[in-house]
Symmetry: C2
Subunit: 312 residues, 2 copies
């Protein structure tokens, strides 16, 4: 390994080595290899962010190599796709009252930020697949970024469409990696998921207050993703049937207040704060469900700051 | 659910409902319940960030409820614990040449940021357990935050100590939740992991450049964590045997350059950029290993910005 393309020696952990002739350096990776090496299937059993294999691609970077901020000066802000699920054909999945309000509020907030918003309601797995196929083939050359929001039921590692569950790492963000969707390579790909990730509850803890521009460069195909989940893996995600989900309420509030003022990770940190502090379930009749808390989970592979600028 | 403690109605998805007498509002959660509800064990099979059950706790918040920044004006910055693993007694795990340099560089960077740094080398599972037990019982009242770094081999969902593997959600960050470690409740708990998370490779994509403060409030016990992984789930993490791992090199560079200037999520975004763009494996003799890329993965449950201020 070497910056700027110097050659080097590379060794596998099992002792095989590959030698190039220009360097005495050696790169290793911090995992098992050889006979004890876990297969791809083993890794999948734990759930991964991305499953499909990268394929060759070539994109055009609209951002200087060393820029702190993503280029948000394309002709258009970008597409925002909302998959809103209220009614299901899956046993034991009840209607998600309040999600309509989430969807409307989010649509308004995103339009204010300059997005071209397309909401879909209650798609089946096959319909969802067709829509995602369509959006994965879109030409995003003139767009700053892509944003997708999913409002649905979920469990750990899966999200429900109308008639069944899917794994988002395959079907959702896995379709928009830099190799598959080259007009989005180097641009922010932003995913917001309002769904349970399990059935655990967080009882909370009480706090008392005391007071470049040159030639060409390569990026990982899995770079420039942001995946913001309403809750951490294993846990419930709460929704008010009249006001909408806690996470979507806080997200829309924060977009409306800070959308053009602060960078996205800062905005989402404040969403975390609002959900964590301002919301608590209140069900005195059900001890286990009463006074429960929720903390969202931001996973960022972004390589620059996202800051929305007003479009002319 | 209601802000500020108003009572409400809560319904399970399976149709049971719990009614309080002061509201017509209803809260639901976005997952399966009832007979189809997955057990905790099922959820664990997917791997979760936190596994143990919350227990009651009471902490003192050193930060105003609505503050944008964590309070970084305690008497001390805080403890930084480094678990550095170079040699292993596990079959097929080779020595991690270069990790000593990672450890020294990180120690210097963290000391510059005011941390009291304690490095451990090549601990066994039992030794690691004892040390973590010790640190979980520490009184952090006079500290701004806690920081831990692990430099080791790993696979998806596990990290290796000298003589075996452990799950970080149980043994590492799971011990420092707000309920268990009340003097850290409401303070940043920062984890940096240099380790493989699987055996997949990222071939990259080529880019051409175009040019309140009153009484009392409750927080989720899983809030205020940051877990920065050198690579995304399922993937290899690269280390240079002479210069150290790509992630630790970039992290130390960024701490040295921006540690007192920018907030932590911004710093880590720039670490992502440096790893993603400036590093690439170069092993012309091994086609599969040649010209591979890496993107780190930041998972944030932080509720405020972390910005280090100089201590007097």
């Amino acid at each position: 390994m070497e910056k700027n393309g110097n050659t080097e020696n590379l060794q596998y952990e099992n002792g095989n080595s590959f030698t190039s002739n220009c360097s005495t350096q050696t790169t290793q990776f911090d995992g098992l290899t050889g006979s004890q090496q876990p297969s791809h299937d083993t890794a999948d059993a734990f759930g991964s962010l991305f499953k499909s294999a990268p394929r060759p691609g070539y994109g055009i970077s609209s951002t200087d190599k060393d820029a702190w901020y993503y280029n948000m000066h394309h002709k258009y802000r970008g597409k925002a796709i909302i998959f809103n699920h209220e009614n299901f054909q899956v046993r034991d999945l009840k209607s998600r009252a309040g999600t309509g309000l989430d969807c409307i509020n989010l649509e308004v907030s995103l339009k204010n930020l300059g997005f071209d918003v397309t909401p879909y309601v209650d798609l089946t797995l096959a319909e969802l697949d067709r829509k995602l196929d369509y959006w994965a083939k879109e030409d995003y050359t003139n767009y700053d970024c892509l944003l997708m929001a999913i409002l649905s039921h979920g469990e750990q590692g899966i999200i429900y469409a109308k008639d069944g569950a899917y794994k988002p790492e395959d079907n959702l963000w896995g379709r928009f990696t830099g190799d598959k969707c080259v007009t989005l390579a180097g641009k922010p790909k932003l995913f917001f998921i309002q769904a349970c990730q399990g059935d655990r509850l967080d009882g909370g803890v009480q706090l008392r207050t005391q007071v470049d521009g040159s030639s060409s460069f390569k990026i990982p195909v899995y770079a420039d993703f942001l995946i913001a989940y309403s809750t951490i893996p294993g846990f419930y995600s709460w929704r008010n049937t009249q006001k909408g989900s806690w996470f979507m309420q806080a997200l829309c509030d924060a977009f409306n207040k800070y959308g053009y003022q602060l960078d996205l990770l800062t905005i989402l940190t404040f969403v975390n704060r609002q959900v964590a502090i301002d919301y608590e379930s209140n069900v005195p009749g059900a001890v286990q469900m009463h006074q429960q808390k929720q903390i969202p989970c931001i996973t960022s592979m972004l390589t620059r700051l996202v800051k929305f600028e007003k479009k002319n």
